[in-house]
């Protein structure tokens, strides 16, 4: 006889379990736990919006308050996903508007959202609080006006890096005068001006505002006004950080920053005039996050700033920081956990910028808490990578981009296999890895053997043969996301590991060597996968099995093939792979 706790007690216990992974585990313990858990789940995260349908989600979880969805594959960020690919939020928002009257939060990434959907959101949910649209597109300020006008209890509006069609600068004025609940506003992606007086009034009547990220169009002269209205800010994104030669702007700004005792994070900094940097020195000692990745200031100025930030945990910066700045970072910022260095010149090394592998080695040595690295550079060596690996076995995310594809170790001219091999061998908790440089199948052998905690892997211009892909698919036990471009990986490895694909969220392969025939076989063997093939040029003959596929996107799903694909993408039908 099975002893079990009353439902209400279990529900109460489950309410303390908030992570999706834990909730998923709870739900498979037994049937009754599944039933209890599903009725009280409040937050749903769906990493691939095509893996499940809105109907299925709603049937299983009737009491949801927060939904997070991702649409396009990650490579959409780099222009590899063509126009019209999909990721439409429309049907999700439609169905949720009817099924979840108490929905409070919607977070979307890489999705296409329309003004109609935004309007529907604004009128359907009685207690709507959070809207995050990250890297989304398809909507304009009209949709934002509706949100502003109708969401009386809105707390957060975050448009991170979305493409917004600006039709009116006045959408901010649609927030009624009685609206005072705003806690977080991110409009940094907006191209044109917003009405400053509306913005100022909004900030002035939002005592709980903690995060404010302005767009480039907000002039520096106005920033101090806003800061005076909101000295309680914790995160600030400036607009353009320059002004004429006017000392009153500087002194007002400096005074305003002095008043911001809670400020922990700074970003923005477009078009920086270095002479205005000292205005925020007074907050540096408290800063934990600093995003200078749009600031083209030079190394001495960057170094000066970071030397004032001993509590820095997260730094995003351009390669203008140079090795010298990174050496200073290693000395000053002992709490650093995450470093992202972006290229200022996208194609060729700028002769004036000396950023090499040495900078990263210094930081790996000096910053013992460093866990996450994104680093763009022009040269790398195996010895540097080995040093980094030995210095920082606690790395969880290592994304290295050597800008020219297939660049060998600049000292030995060898492939960088052993360097990356050292990374996966020493960093036992590595969950995300991006490779670059000259790499043979060998590096994949190392990855398959050692990278047992790897969740996401990005590969470009690497490997010699199918063996490389086979090592990864057969060795990386918990791999969920694999994205590959321009590698000689093809049918053999794919077909030898079909079962693996059902344990992953998705596989992206573009400009590789996968044939239509293999896609058909894969689709027949694995009915729970959608095998989507892209043929933008119209040159693919679906009857010719040996034809190579430009782009392949494979993902597990319980929703069957999707019906919103553009004409040049087909799902391999498991019965017959014919173009519609």
């Amino acid at each position: 006889m099975v002893y079990s706790l009353p439902e209400e007690v279990l529900e109460h216990v489950f309410s303390f379990i908030t992570s999706d992974k834990d909730r998923n585990v709870v739900s498979v313990v037994c049937k009754s736990w599944y039933e209890i858990e599903r009725k009280c789940r409040r937050k749903v995260f769906i990493g691939n919006c095509y893996s499940v349908s809105p109907g299925i989600m709603i049937r299983r979880f009737p009491e949801v308050r927060s939904v997070e969805l991702k649409g396009k594959p990650h490579f959409a960020d780099f222009n590899l996903v063509p126009e019209g690919w999909g990721g439409y939020a429309c049907s999700w928002i439609d169905k949720m508007s009817r099924a979840y009257p108490w929905l409070e939060e919607i977070r979307l990434k890489w999705m296409v959202v329309t003004d109609e959907s935004l309007e529907l959101i604004s009128t359907s949910f009685k207690n709507y609080k959070v809207l995050v649209l990250a890297s989304c597109e398809g909507f304009s300020t009209d949709g934002l006006s509706a949100i502003a006008a109708n969401c009386r209890n809105l707390r957060e509006l975050d448009l991170q890096e979305s493409e917004v069609m600006d039709s009116s600068g006045h959408w901010l004025s649609h927030f009624p005068d009685t609206f005072t609940s705003l806690e977080s506003l991110n409009i940094s992606c907006l191209g044109s001006e917003v009405s400053f007086s509306a913005l100022e009034r909004l900030v002035a009547r939002s005592p709980n505002l903690k995060t404010l990220r302005l767009n480039r169009a907000v002039p520096l002269g106005k920033l101090s006004t806003l800061l005076q209205q909101a000295p309680q800010l914790v995160e600030l994104g400036t607009g353009a950080y320059l002004s004429g030669v006017r000392s009153d702007v500087y002194s007002a700004l400096s005074k305003a920053f002095l008043g911001c005792k809670e400020l922990k994070g700074l970003s923005g900094f477009w078009d920086v005039d270095p002479s205005y940097l000292p205005a925020f020195y007074s907050v540096c000692s408290r800063l934990t996050t600093l995003n200078l990745s749009y600031a083209t200031i030079r190394s001495p100025d960057i170094t000066k700033v970071i030397s004032l930030c001993p509590n820095l945990q997260r730094l995003l910066v351009l390669d203008h920081i140079e090795d010298s700045g990174l050496n200073a970072l290693a000395l000053s910022c002992k709490n650093l956990q995450e470093l992202r260095v972006f290229p200022s010149y996208l194609y060729v090394a700028d002769a004036n910028v000396t950023l090499t592998e040495q900078g990263l080695v210094s930081v790996s040595q000096g910053c013992s808490k460093l866990q996450s690295v994104l680093y763009f550079c022009h040269q790398m060596s195996n010895s540097a990578l080995i040093t980094i690996a030995k210095n920082r076995p606690n790395l969880t995310c290592f994304r290295l981009c050597i800008i020219e594809p297939r660049t060998p170790d600049y000292l030995t001219h060898e492939p960088l296999d052993i360097g990356f091999g050292a990374i996966v061998k020493h960093c036992k908790n590595l969950n995300r890895l991006s490779l670059s440089g000259l790499l043979t199948d060998r590096v994949f052998e190392y990855i398959g053997t050692h990278a047992k905690k790897l969740d996401m892997l990005s590969i470009a211009f690497a490997g010699d043969s199918d063996l490389g892909l086979h090592h990864v698919l057969s060795g990386c036990e918990i791999l969920k996301k694999l994205e590959i471009r321009d590698c000689p990986f093809g049918d053999t490895a794919l077909l030898a590991n079909v079962a693996k694909l059902a344990t992953m969220r998705s596989l992206w392969m573009s400009s590789c060597a996968v044939s239509i025939g293999a896609c058909k076989i894969l689709s027949r063997k694995m009915p729970m996968l959608n095998v989507e093939v892209t043929d933008e040029n119209g040159t693919l003959d679906p009857k010719l099995d040996s034809c190579l596929v430009e782009k392949l996107y494979v993902y597990r799903t319980v929703a069957g093939p999707r019906s919103d694909m553009p004409g040049y993408i087909w799902t391999m039908d498991r019965d017959s792979a014919n173009k519609i």
């Binding site: 290229p343 194609y347 400009s511």
Partner: protein
């Protein structure tokens, strides 16, 4: 048929085009795979380096390098932003679009007589130089203005030192 290096070529060889086939609904994105050779002919690789579009657009805007471009016989001048081109080929394509001077891109890269036009630029010292001699970045830093000359006006052979 195991593909190894030179992958891009093999893909095109194996394709069979549909009769009269032209692209489907896809965007006008560049399709060429350059292979990223030793001298880093990076111009044509889509989506590389992997910097998200949002950042790319923002970086490009910051360091604008507008220069005037004149062409023999054209009624007015144009302006181009050198920072938005990645190399001489792109500059050539841009100039062809603006002025219709076909072949100018090739003329920059090779000292051939085949193109009707030739491009020269005024550098920081005030000297008029032939476009294409120095590395691209060095060129963008020293170029003050551009001029497209018709070969017949340019006294051609004197500009191409090898051809006397």
């Amino acid at each position: 048929m195991g593909p190894h290096e030179g992958l891009g070529l093999e893909i095109t060889e194996l394709r069979l085009g549909l009769p009269g086939g032209s692209g489907g609904g896809g965007g006008e994105k560049k399709r060429v795979f350059s292979g990223g050779g030793k001298n880093g002919n990076m111009d044509l690789v889509v989506g590389w380096p992997p910097v998200c579009l949002y950042k790319k657009n923002n970086i490009c805007h910051v360091t604008k390098m507008y220069v005037k471009v004149s062409m023999d016989g054209a009624p007015f001048l144009r302006k181009v932003d050198l920072s938005c081109f990645k190399g001489y080929s792109e500059l050539g394509m841009g100039l062809e679009k603006l002025f219709g001077c076909s072949g100018i891109g090739e003329a920059m890269k090779e000292e051939s007589e085949s193109c009707e036009y030739t491009a020269i630029y005024e550098d920081k010292d005030g000297d008029w130089m032939l476009v294409g001699d120095v590395p691209w970045l060095m060129f963008t830093e020293t170029c003050k203005r551009l001029r497209i000359k018709r070969r017949s006006y340019a006294n051609g052979s004197r500009l191409h030192g090898t051809n006397t």
